[in-house]
Amino acid sequence: MALDRISILDFRNHRQTALEDTARFNLLVGANGAGKTNVLEALSLLAPGRGLRRAKLPEMARIDGPGGFTVAARLQPADGAEPVQLGTVVDAAQPNRRRVRVNGAERSALGLSEWLSVRWLTPAMDGLFTDSAGARRRYLDRLALATAPGHAALSNRYETALRNRNRLLSDDAPPDPQWLDALEAQLAEHGAAIAANRRALVEELNRELEAQADALFPRPLLAIEPTGPEERAALAEALRGNRRTERRAGRTLIGPHRAELAVTLADKGVPAARASTGEQKAMLIAITLAHGALATRGRAGLLLLDEVAAHLDPQRREALFARLAANGEQVWMTGTERTPFDPILPDAAVWDVSGGSLRRI
């Protein structure tokens, strides 16, 4: 099954953890602080990026351990070809440097994403719909990384142009108009591309969400509410026209950095922020699954769902399990108890987690 023969060494509270004979559904059950989320975090390091806690590498090395850590696993590719050995290693001598190995050869972190697509949902994301617009933009942009490969670079360039323009606008001296022209040309070019990526993603997600819809699961409807024009020439024009106002404000008030990702409950037309906690959770799960369908594209998929059964009533839980079963990705879930997972136990590998140690049950 997707990932197997997983080995986690000196990572967080895991000294030496081995997971074998994995299944479609993999459950980690144990008390608070046992080390369940730590296992998911370790697996999330088999993809590029900072992992599901977005933590710094030295923080992940086991306290009282040798300093570095290792996460390794064997991957059975989706097309049934030869298994691939994936690994992320941090040496004690270079605690800030992540080394990636694919079949024993040193690769860049991006090398991992050729084989595996990893997505996750954690309790830290629960407040997304009531959080700031910026948090939702960052969430959307993270989803876009999987579908629009250049999106991160684009965002960086846009951000640099924006900070330069804001600095000129907030300067005591009047800004050089030709310098503003040059920066606005860059903002318009990259801003339009960012807006287009986001729009394409939202459209695809909505299509996928509609295809996956079922009566038990509330369906979210996504929409982008821009501030200012999204098209390149119009955005450049609007930025130029806004100079006086924005000089007073000391910053740029229009562009994709001010867009809002609006989410509503499709059937009721209620904004997601006003839906019940359980409905919000179900919507996040629905988006995560829909995104999986877009992001996996022939690769093996890994879905990490931390404490996902909490907040869901038994009916919704059943609906979730039915969807996960239909989805084809390998699923890793955590919980403090086993009972909520009863319906899938026949198809599940279950581990009891306690004090950073795992016991197969």
């Binding site: 670079a153 960086n156 360039r157 640099t160 142009a161 900070r163 330069n164 323009r165 600095r167 000129l168 300067d171 050089d176 030709q178 310098w179 022209d181 040059a182 920066l183 040309a185 860059q186």
Partner: protein, 197 residues
Amino acid sequence: MASQEIETLASALARLPGLGPRSARRAVLHLVKKRETALPALLDALLSVQDTLEECRICGNVDTQDPCGICSDPRRDAKSICVVEDVADLWALDRAKLFSGTFHVLGGRLSALDGVRPEDLAIPGLLARVEAGVDEVVLAMNATLEGQTTAHYLAERLEDFPVRITQLAHGLPVGGELDYLDEGTLAQALRARRPLG
């Protein structure tokens, strides 16, 4: 145990780009062993560079003569100017031997964040050269956001001159520095230069 003087030399060498403490130590050892031959030769070369190094008053290149070797080479097409951010970029492009014109070193790129403004760059010199009669200006800024902003800015400043403005199609990875490109890629970037859109 090495003396204070030898330690000082090793640590000065270790700070050079491409070297480190270990390779610096090897270089020092070599110089100590060959103190009759290699050491005086290196010393002479260093001293003569130090004595003669100058900034070219025309293009801003650093050379042992002013105007620099490129500006005073009669085979070079002085009516074609390639504008670069730094001397390192000039050397990288010149090494590729694909550009038959001359250069102009700006001395940086526009950055409000780093406090680099138009007046901090060698723009008046460039405008004066263009005013005196130039057919083509190739803007060869780095692919970074600030490099490309600078190219756009210069294109606008040059708008009213009867000169063809082209831009290096270097298709670099974002943040790529011109100097780190291999010569084949540079050649491609120069051949595929395009009018500024």
